[in-house]
């Protein structure tokens, strides 16, 4: 559950970067999937990551979420250099990831998925009733229509599955949230729900990396956008300063728009 006792928005220092990824490189079998890319993220900010399929944005972000290990470069969280070698390390840094493929165990119910890897225990045994009660609380806030607590998540719709995945990231007080196309599988109503949630989390001072293909969503939700092409960073722009076409140009041509390039 989001910690309401957190300092008010104004108290979050928005001038110091939450995440700095410096000069990150990673190759697979000689192919440079990410080639010396640097991006950063401030508290209360949404940074969109854009690019064609295979541009390297998912690979880059997986170095932060611990799914991949970077070959070279530095990751700084709150100005401190950290080693992230696996998803457990990322969790220790309060980094939560919502994957495109949702990363849910289909055979388990919503509560088991929400708490997977961080179960609530009572005298050494898993306390399912307590976890279900907590799951009901958070789901009541994220998706009030959600009722299916006692069935495996394979029986849920795409939107319902997505809300389980989001609940998991939100419940554990994430400071840094990575969302890999969170609305790809969703209908318009559910997309709107996710948009509102992003605004709310942002207001609470979380930093969010949003991997997104839909330029409209980027323009609507993001503060800045970093565009990648062929494993390299094309550039990072303030969304306010550019148009849809400018960003599209960066994605397709791999060049910053003329009025910003100077």
């Amino acid at each position: 559950m989001i910690d309401r006792s957190k300092p008010p928005v104004d108290a979050v220092d928005r001038t110091k970067p939450l995440v700095e990824m410096r000069d990150i490189s990673i190759s697979f079998g000689g192919i440079k999937a990410v080639d010396h890319v640097s991006i950063d993220l401030y508290p209360g900010e949404v940074v969109g990551l854009l690019g064609h399929n295979g541009a390297g944005k998912s690979t880059l972000i997986k170095c932060l979420s611990g799914a991949y290990r970077k070959d070279a470069g530095q990751i700084l969280i709150n100005g401190q250099e950290v080693e992230i070698n696996n998803p457990r390390d990322a969790r220790d840094q309060n980094i939560e990831t919502i994957y495109q493929t949702l990363a849910l165990a289909d055979n388990l119910d919503a509560a088991s998925n929400l708490f997977l890897g961080r179960e609530i225990k009572k005298r050494g045994i898993v306390d399912d009733a307590k976890m279900e009660a907590e799951a009901r609380k958070i789901m009541g806030r994220l998706n009030p229509n959600f009722r299916k607590f006692s069935v495996p998540v394979s029986a849920l719709s795409g939107g319902q599955r997505q809300s389980v995945a989001i609940a998991r990231a939100v419940y554990f007080n994430a400071k840094i949230l990575i969302m890999d196309e969170p609305t790809a599988a969703l209908g318009p109503h559910e997309t709107q729900m996710v948009a509102e949630l992003i605004q709310e989390l942002k207001a609470q001072g979380l930093g969010i990396f949003l991997i997104e293909h839909d330029i409209h969503n980027v323009m609507k939700l993001c503060d800045r956008a970093s565009v990648m092409k062929n494993g390299q960073l094309v550039g990072t722009v303030n969304v306010k300063d550019v148009t849809d076409d400018d960003i599209l140009g960066m994605i397709i041509l791999g060049k910053k728009p003329a009025h910003l390039a100077a």
């Binding site: 979420s65 990363a103 165990a105 289909d106 388990l108 997977l116 045994i125 898993v126 279900e132 009660a133």
Partner: protein, 433 residues
């Protein structure tokens, strides 16, 4: 049921009773299959099949396969397979046979039959089984060799290391302390069995209502009290019937005389004693209960199911799936050693072919019991029931004089039909694509 007036009569009513009781339909199907086997053979044998003596024998014969099937559920749920369990059983049996008859007596200078030697032997056997399993798990988890390959190799390797361990000879085992683990030589008698049965029944009832209280404390809707009572009644009835039935199987007079002579006393005239629960069956029940708790109530069990449901999700959730794989196979190895202890005690010897082809029976038991080879789905009680159904079928066919080859044909067909029926059932329910 408050909505009685709303539900349509007939089928809807019946379905809602099963729903209200929250009985797993799959379990119900297996119980019905088991009941059908029992009824057919009871009629065919004129009642001998369900006699206390045969129930006792079936229970005792089921134990080794059922113990291993419990471990196999975890292995298969985690999307792996273990083809080496029969050979691991033989290997553990060889180690235990040699250490109790030859190695330990020569180290400690004791005679065969010393209880301390047996104690150390059991520890060695269980440790060796766990180690064998852990090696398999390391090759599968950390070196990423498919479990099918590792354990197929293990099947050949351990079967033949077993041969070298005993120089290809059978080892006769006569230590009464060992034979206790085998079945007929180790029984509790009627009184102790009843006491244990009543305790178990009390625990079962307590567990049902404790779980109900816990759910209520979080404000969840629970089953109506009558439904809980029916379930508790069914479970208590099953426990007490089983105990009572085995407590009606008398120990033969000649054997009682021998036991009294061994103590140096003359048996009183008209003395009788009943078998009651065999120790080996108690071991199986303990394994079944512990494994069920592990599967449902520990993070270890939860992670196994998560890994079977979606290995990537498990890994990304911060679960160390490699270490988990080692633990799963180590547990399988431990249970093979336990099964080896029971098997060699029952056969009163270690032979080279002990546990031969058991891997297939173990896998079959798990699969008949509803464990899905695709991973993620399976229950411990299902696997034990699967082993019991197979053993009952075989025992029943043997009793009515069906030839061994035909027995095996039937068991093979039952395996296929069990999975077939399950697929049809899941399709109807829309559970599978």
């Amino acid at each position: 049921m408050s909505d009685q007036g709303l539900s349509a009569p007939g089928t809807a009513q019946r379905r809602s009773v099963i729903d209200t009781l929250e009985i797993d339909v799959r379990l119900l199907g297996m119980l019905m299959a088991f009941a059908a086997v029992a009824v057919v053979f009871t009629i065919w044998t004129g009642g001998t099949f369900v006699g206390p003596r045969n129930v006792f024998n079936i229970a005792v014969q089921t134990v080794p396969v059922a113990i291993m099937a419990c471990g196999m559920v975890f292995v298969i749920v985690a999307r792996h397979i273990d083809l080496s369990v029969g050979s691991m059983l033989a290997m553990c049996s060889a180690i235990m046979a040699m250490s109790q008859t030859t190695w330990l007596p020569s180290v400690f200078g004791t005679e065969y039959g010393n209880p301390a030697v047996l104690g150390v032997t059991v520890v060695i056997g269980l440790a060796f089984g766990t180690l064998m399993g852990a090696v398999t798990g390391w090759l599968v988890g950390y070196q990423r060799i498919p479990s099918f390959i590792v354990t197929l190799g293990g099947l050949f390797v351990w079967r033949n290391v077993n041969w070298f361990t005993t120089n290809g000879q059978s080892v006769s085992l006569t230590d009464p302390n060992l034979l206790m683990f085998g079945g007929t030589e180790g029984v509790l008698g009627a009184t102790a069995s009843w006491v244990l049965g009543l305790i178990a029944a009390a625990i079962a009832v307590w567990a049902i209502f404790a779980s109900r209280r816990n759910k209520q404390s979080h404000g969840f809707i629970v089953k109506p009290v009558w439904a809980e009572a029916v379930m508790a009644g069914l479970i208590v009835g099953a426990i007490l019937f089983f105990v009572g039935w085995l407590s009606r199987y008398p120990i033969p007079e000649a054997k009682l005389k021998r036991l009294f002579e061994a103590k140096g006393v003359v048996m009183p005239e008209g003395y009788t004693a009943m078998h009651g629960l065999p120790i080996s069956v108690l071991i199986l029940i303990a394994v079944g209960v512990v494994m069920t708790v592990v599967a449902r109530k520990t993070t270890f069990g939860r992670y196994i199911f998560a890994m079977g449901g979606n290995p990537d999700a498990a890994e990304l959730s911060g679960i160390n799936t490699r270490a988990l794989t080692v633990k799963i196979f180590a547990l399988m190895g431990f249970l093979c050693a336990l099964a080896a202890l029971v098997a060699q005690a029952r056969l009163q010897s270690h032979g080279n072919d002990i546990g031969m082809l058991e891997e297939l029976r173990v896998i079959a038991a798990a699969v008949i019991g509803g464990t899905a080879l695709a991973g993620g789905v399976g229950t411990i009680y299902g696997a034990i029931l699967g082993a019991l159904i197979m053993q009952s079928l075989q025992s029943g066919m043997a009793m009515v004089g069906v030839d061994t080859p035909f027995q095996n044909i039937v068991v093979g067909l039952v395996l296929i039909i069990a999975v077939w029926v399950d697929i049809i059932y899941r399709k109807r329910l829309g559970l599978s694509k």
